[in-house]
Amino acid sequence: MATANLRFGRLYRPTLTRHLLLGLGAAVLLFAISAQIGAYDDYNLTAVAIFAVAAAGLTLLTGLNGQLSLGHGALMAVGAYTASLLLKDHELPVVVVLLVAVLTTGIIGIVFGYAAARLRGPYLAGATLTLAVALPQLATRYKSIFGGDSGLTVPPSAPPAWLGADFPPERWLAWIALAAAIVTMVLLANLLHSSVGRTFIAVRDNEVAAALAGIDVGRTQVLAFVISASCAGLAGALFGYWSGVTAPAGFGLGLSLQLVTAIVIGGLGSLAGAVWGSLVLVVIPALTSGMASTLNVPSSVANNLPLAIYGAILVIAMLAAPHGIQGALQRLLALARARWGHLPAGGKKGVMDWDDPAADP
């Protein structure tokens, strides 16, 4: 699809510069938006940014490296509990808390990544599922450390004094989360365009071929797991600040499935898709909230309704747009270009390849 001209143009714009400029543009735009909207919208914007960080990490693992994880909610719990325990007795700057959470979750990621690299398909899914189910139970078991079902409260990060006394704390947290999301996206985008990113894809597409090409398959898989877990840890720590409480019920299986839903709906393997998916995650519950009470269904039905809705959305999304929101957008763009745009060299007007998801990397 891409033309020789485009490829030539890319040589003059190094990847890093391009991503930094994109990141800077996004930062300016989002900070301007956050300053215009109300406190509750800022609070929801923060949630989108947090899910985007976790989903970006998961899409790298699942979409680009081919390892399905149903346990990312539990890895977020690791980040959140790390932050909560750090802030229990000490006042620490946000940056320090976030970095420690990333490191801790990264270490857990190494341990679990080694196990995961030996497993394939349903066995990998089962092992990560165990993580999602078992890890939050530790908080109930070791109540004196983790606070049991009540969990641990997370003191809010107060806006700095120079922003003024009336500055809404929700906007300050939105800025922190957006900054974390943009930094994560720029770093991941660079990584994916580097040789490391290409080894991830090579391993996903064919492990034997990758190994024959000299790639250490196991090491690549562990590396992908560690990077992905670190993103989940960062998202978890931010989630703690956002929610004000870290409790086991907040990191149940539902959260892990939500993250998988986000990357599939958004477009598997694409960072932009992770952002779309996160938007859906925040918007859909807002639409369905209160549905359980207004529908007047028995509690056994109402309890499971939110999960059932996610399942239904997954099925419909798979049928309607198998490459997710990002895939659908790229096709529309390609279709428009093919229909009305300049003729690409060697291309035929009005013809496009539907099977090419026009993947980003």
Partner: protein
């Protein structure tokens, strides 16, 4: 409780000013301030309405029974609104489901405060759930009224100046139940079965205060996520406990009774008010035993209450609440949860009226601290004051008969977390003719 600001001169002056303005507000309620027109005096208050919000377990593990509380409160508010409201304002009650999940409570509470912009939080249910948001609600200076939990965490005036409890706290309840055991079941071996969180532990604190920690034959606890209580009940049986005090939620009271019956173990059960509603328990017992056992299993249970029992048809408050129930929420069972929700709503109506025509958030809190509200339907008096944010101060012991009727036993006792138990000499008030304060 020692407040950190007491002792500094400026702190004292601050308290004096607070008390003085509280007095002025109280005086105002009976005279001039109430005339005039309604203004939008605070967030959530318009000339024609007051919006309040709540988080409730409409779904999830705590939903059975407790999901009736908010609809019952709402039924009372609809009744109130049809009878003129408070100073002509309608009370609009927005309650959201948190599924008894603290993380959901956090986001739903922010939705109510930042998006719906409620005047106050009201009746938010649950200890773990409300602990997740109590700091936030106070940092936003939103009145946090009548938390549906007997944890004494809500009575912390220095840390949570805007938070008020309502039901008798678990420690006081434990003390009065302990006193009953000491007086009426003396010489028998006592064991505990309790929920391993603030609810159970606070109750145990009160029981130990009366019974002496060293005299307890066995202490068994449970977590609500594990429904197998067989081992704990077997341990109580092995210890030879003839009296088992149970600080349990309804589902676990039912499980404990069934496990004991299966083991042929028949101690005298003393069950906290939280887990002893006859209608809810009968339903749970027959559901868990697939209809094999009914309400008969409840015969002989010793419990307590700070409100009249829903089965007490001679009580004028029950007549009033039953009438409202039949008119607005006939599909719900008329049980202790419905009485609870309506009684809470009545207390709120009292407090809104006492705060005057155009309250602000802070003038409302000051009014609640300085106005002596009648206990309304409550058996014991309300304790709200500038140094006390606890609601009802005591309970009356009651015994459930095999046919499901409940008979009160002895006088109403009041106490505090650290003070002695005393007999309450006052009598319950009767409802106003039109049922609104």
């Amino acid at each position: 409780m020692k407040s950190p600001i007491v002792g500094s001169t400026s702190g004292m002056r601050g308290i004096a000013i607070v008390c003085l303005s509280g007095l002025l507000a109280a005086c105002g309620t009976s005279t001039a301030d109430n005339s005039g027109t309604n203004t939008a005096s605070a967030p959530g208050i318009t000339a024609s309405s007051i919006t309040i919000g709540s988080t409730q377990p409409l779904t999830g593990p705590a939903a059975p029974g407790y999901s009736e509380i908010a609809p019952a409160s709402n039924a009372y508010f609809v009744y109130l609104n049809q009878h003129g409201g408070v100073f002509g304002r309608k009370v609009l009650y927005e309650y959201l489901d948190d599924g008894y999940n603290p993380t959901n409570t956090a986001s739903q509470t922010r939705k109510l405060i930042l998006d719906t912009k409620v005047f106050a939080m009201f009746s938010s249910l649950g200890t773990p759930t409300h602990l997740a948001v109590v700091d936030y609600i106070n940092s936003e200076k939103v009145p946090d009224l009548f938390v549906s939990s007997g944890c004494n965490c809500w009575n912390n005036v220095a840390k949570y100046p805007n938070t008020f409890g309502w039901q008798t706290d678990y420690t006081i309840e434990g003390k009065i139940l302990g006193q009953y055991i000491k007086q009426n079941l003396s010489g028998k071996k006592v064991g505990y079965f309790y929920q391993n969180d603030e609810f159970g532990l606070d109750g145990v604190k009160g029981l130990d205060d009366q019974l002496g920690a060293s005299s307890i034959a066995s202490r068994q606890n449970y977590v609500p996520t594990n429904t197998n209580v067989g081992p704990q009940i077997a341990a109580l049986q092995a210890s030879g406990a003839q009296v088992v005090v149970s600080f349990t939620i309804p589902a676990f009271t039912a499980l404990a009774l069934l496990s004991a019956a299966k083991l042929g173990y028949h101690p005298t059960w003393v069950v906290s008010n939280v887990g002893s509603d006859v209608t809810t328990l009968t339903g749970l017992v027959s559901k868990f035993s697939q209809g094999a056992v009914g309400g008969k299993l409840l015969g002989g249970i010793v419990t307590d209450n700070y409100l009249p029992f829903s089965s007490d048809t001679s009580n004028p408050w029950i007549t009033l609440f039953k009438q409202i129930h039949d008119q607005y929420i006939p599909s719900l069972p008329f049980d202790g949860n419905v009485v609870y929700g309506m009684a809470q709503a009545y207390t709120l109506a009292q407090a809104l009226k006492a705060a005057g025509r155009n309250p602000t958030r802070s003038s409302f809190v000051k009014s609640l601290e300085s106005t002596k509200l009648s206990g309304g339907p409550g058996l014991a008096p309300l304790g709200f004051a500038s140094d006390n944010h606890l609601g009802y101060l005591g309970v009356q012991v009651a015994i459930i008969a095999a046919d499901g009727t409940v008979a009160t036993n002895g006088p109403v006792y009041t106490s505090s977390d650290s003070g002695p138990i005393s007999q309450y000499s006052g009598s319950a008030s009767s409802p106003p003719a039109n049922g609104i304060p």
